[in-house]
């Protein structure tokens, strides 16, 4: 139900040929094993979600992971993992990397290397018709639902707050939630005025729920593949990603989820946002 | 003091008290004897309304207890009224039933302070006097578990007395005691009798009955078989059932 757009179903499986320069950079342990273990976070359509009724993950992040594995000539092993255990899992060498829409920040780069793979923006979602006339420059004093530990909360909100204070208005009233559904349901029960989160996720949510619409989008910034420092995987992944960005398959993966405009042009490493 | 007329009580189909009539004079001691299952305990519990009764008039001190008259019929009294009437009757149980979580003194003070709502200081002085009276002045702060059976039973008596009841009911007060401890409790009871407390005592101690009772009542099968002075009922029983029972207990 509720999936007329096709986003609930998986895009056709994509694949590309191995990229020799990238394969050459692989550490021996990985190329010997022949398997790339990628941590994918739990359910959050459309970036990653279970194909309905199955235990198979699909979505933007798993597809990118598949392309990276192809480019490295490795077999992909998706390991679905709750956020709480992704970082310890990387440290425990349970996974070789994670593709989970992480925004690189200075703080986070103490723990991980990041190879950028797509741009993501932030969006404001409001009840259809936007009765409160919400916009990025009209958020002061509003009840804003955001996700715990999100880029919006940690980087963007402080700027917005500062702007409000400077203008002599109330700062934002922040409400933190663990996932988009909780934030949206808070909006539904009129406990929040607006949800402020990743654009793709919100676009998908409004598709499912005609009571809400995206009021405005901003701040498009790259997100990266997270790799444990010192494993020797950063360079091969960078090489693989560079090749992928130039391939046509990159575009077709993005368009499968309506995210064509989010393409990056360069696989930069460790550029803090 | 107690007047019982036509008392009937059954548990489901089991008629335990068939038609009991009995009267106990103020200031007298009545001993209730009879075989196991004859309804002695049940009778005592009915007097204190720990059991509801099916029929009969039960007067304590000339007052209807546990029931009210209403349009020529008896109607069970309200719970509050029953609770209040119980404050006028003290009861001492076979297994003592002291409150294990309270000290001897607290056990004795519980009723006056928390039921009668009398001032604590006054009650405490009185409770200490009572404990002294039953020979346990040095045990005020002991918990029941730390006391011998005989001491526990004496505290149970003090607890009953603290309510200043008009009437004391005893249910086999010595049968859970070692032979050595029986004396302690009987001595206190004899004292009370000598002071003119009205007492109704279920007992197997025929010696006590002979010595202290004004009236002995023999029950069997839920009816009073024989009653009278200890000399007549124990010394010279008229009924076969009484004789058979006495021979077994005295054996």
């Amino acid at each position: 139900p509720g999936s007329e757009t096709g986003a609930g179903e998986a895009a056709e499986p994509v694949s590309i040929d191995a990229v020799p320069e990238a394969v050459a950079l692989l550490p021996e342990s990985i190329s010997d094993a022949g398997v790339l273990r990628v941590a994918i976070p739990t359910n959050e359509p459309p970036t990653q979600f279970y194909r309905e009724g199955t235990q198979e993950m699909t979505g933007l992040n798993p597809d990118i992971a598949a392309l990276v594995a192809d480019a490295l000539g490795l077999e992909l092993e998706v390991v679905v993992s709750n956020f709480d255990s992704i970082i310890p899992g990387l440290a425990a060498n349970r996974f070789d990397m994670t593709v989970s829409s992480m925004t690189p920040t200075v703080e986070r780069m103490e723990a991980l290397d990041f190879v950028e793979y797509v741009n993501m923006g932030s969006a404001l979602v409001v009840p259809t018709g936007n009765p409160d006339r919400i916009a990025f420059d009209a958020l002061c004093g509003k009840r804003v639902a955001v996700l715990t530990g999100s880029y919006q909360l940690t980087v963007q909100i402080p700027d917005l707050d500062a702007a409000c204070t400077a203008a002599g208005q109330d700062p934002l009233e922040i409400q933190q939630f663990q996932d988009t559904r909780q934030a949206i349901s808070s909006l539904a029960s009129d406990r929040s005025d607006v949800v402020y989160a990743d654009g793709p996720i919100l676009s998908y949510a409004t598709l499912q729920n005609p009571d809400f619409e995206v009021a405005e989008e901003n701040n498009v910034a790259p997100v990266g593949i997270g790799i444990t420092k010192g494993t020797g995987m950063t360079e091969p992944v960078e090489a693989a990603m560079t090749a992928i960005i130039e391939s046509p398959e990159y575009g077709s993966v993005l368009s499968a989820y309506g995210l064509e405009s989010m393409a990056v042009t360069e696989a930069r490493v460790n550029v803090a946002q | 003091m107690i007047e019982i007329r036509g008392l009937r009580k059954s548990f489901r189909d089991n008629v335990v008290l068939a038609d009991v009539s009995l009267s106990v004079e103020a200031g007298s001691v009545t001993c209730l004897i009879g075989p196991s299952g004859s309804g002695k305990t049940t009778l005592l519990r009915c007097v204190n309304r720990l059991e509801t009764i099916d029929a009969g008039i039960l007067l304590v001190d000339g007052q209807l207890v546990g029931a009210e008259r209403r349009r020529g019929r008896l109607v069970e009294a309200r719970p509050g009224a029953i609770a209040r009437s119980r404050t006028q009757t003290g009861m001492v149980f076979q297994r003592f039933n002291l409150f294990p979580h309270r000290t001897a003194l607290e056990n004795v003070m519980e009723g006056p302070v928390h039921v009668l709502r009398r001032p604590r200081g006054e009650v405490q002085a009185e409770a200490e006097r009572l404990l002294e009276r039953v020979g346990l002045a040095h045990k005020t702060d002991a918990y029941p578990q730390e006391l011998s059976g005989g001491q526990q039973q004496r505290i149970a008596i003090a607890r009953a007395l603290a309510m200043q009841p008009k009437l004391l009911l005893f249910d086999e007060p010595t049968s859970a005691l070692d032979p050595e401890l029986v004396g302690e409790v009987l001595a206190v009871m004899k004292d009370l009798a000598a002071e003119g407390m009205t007492m109704l005592v279920v007992t197997h101690e025929l010696g006590f009955a002979r010595e202290a009772a004004d009236q002995v009542v023999f029950m069997d099968g839920g009816v009073v078989v024989e009653s009278g002075t200890p000399e007549s009922v124990i010394g010279d029983p008229q009924q076969d059932r009484t004789r058979a029972f006495l021979s077994r207990v005295l054996a």
């Binding site: 279970y50 425990a92 | 008039i57 008259r69």
Partner: protein
Amino acid sequence: MMHTVGTPTQVQSTLTSLEVQPRKRWLPLLGAAVVVFIVVAGLWDVATNERFRWPVVFEYLFNPQILSGVGLTLTLTVVSMTFGILLGIVLAIMRLAKNPTISMAAGAYIWFFRGTPLLVQLIFWYNIAALYPVIALGLPFGGPSVAIGEANVLITPLTAALLGLALNEAAYMAEIIRSGIQAVDEGQRDAGRAIGMTDAKLMWRVVLPQAMRIVIPPTGNQVISMLKGTSLVSVLAISDLLYSAQIIYALNYQTIPLLLVACAWYLLLTSILTAVQGRLEVRYGRGFQPRPQRRFRRSARAAVRTGEQEDRR
């Protein structure tokens, strides 16, 4: 109310009958009526409230993903509860041991596992490789050791979940069982020893069966908590019942109907458990008779009396 009414004969003369009428108890009846009313009204409201979207509920009730979630929830509960109870018994016995070191070791275990959140324990077991990449038996302080296997291979998410749940549960069960064991009369141990039982046999045949009676109700609580608590293992990306429902509503945004589906299943499972608990309470209450003690004991005595002739020797 009490007031002087005269002699029995005077009283009787004013009465048409000696029967005592039981008092009509209005208050409980009224209370009962209110309760029935609230329950019926509540049910009616729930059944007719459109926001609950009952058709969607029925559509997903037997969804295969939900069913597999039910299966996993049951597996996790049964397996980890079993091990939790067994380990709990051992810990309770250790806790009550005379040897202070043994008792303190059990105390430390209980303190530690009751004291740390299950979430942390689960993450810890799952990622034990981060701390100890190779599981090895050996001497600490850098002594020699024998590798058993790579942690990541030995500890699958399911193993980690079972390990975490069982070890955590054991700490709680240990406290419950301890209180049960402590409630068994000391005379029972004497009696068992007097017929030559060893301590182990005594525990198994005499003490534990009697402790059961006291242990069952709080254990019922634990089993039911566990049933619902398994959703914590979703941090390990294992989909129990509740998490399966969450996965589905993440896709279709039918949050409330899917939570109702989960509730329906939980209520079913809880009902079964409650029934089992009731039967166990009866089973282990045999020979103890909990509530109507007086009544039972007396009528049993009465029964004894009927056999008195052949009984007296």
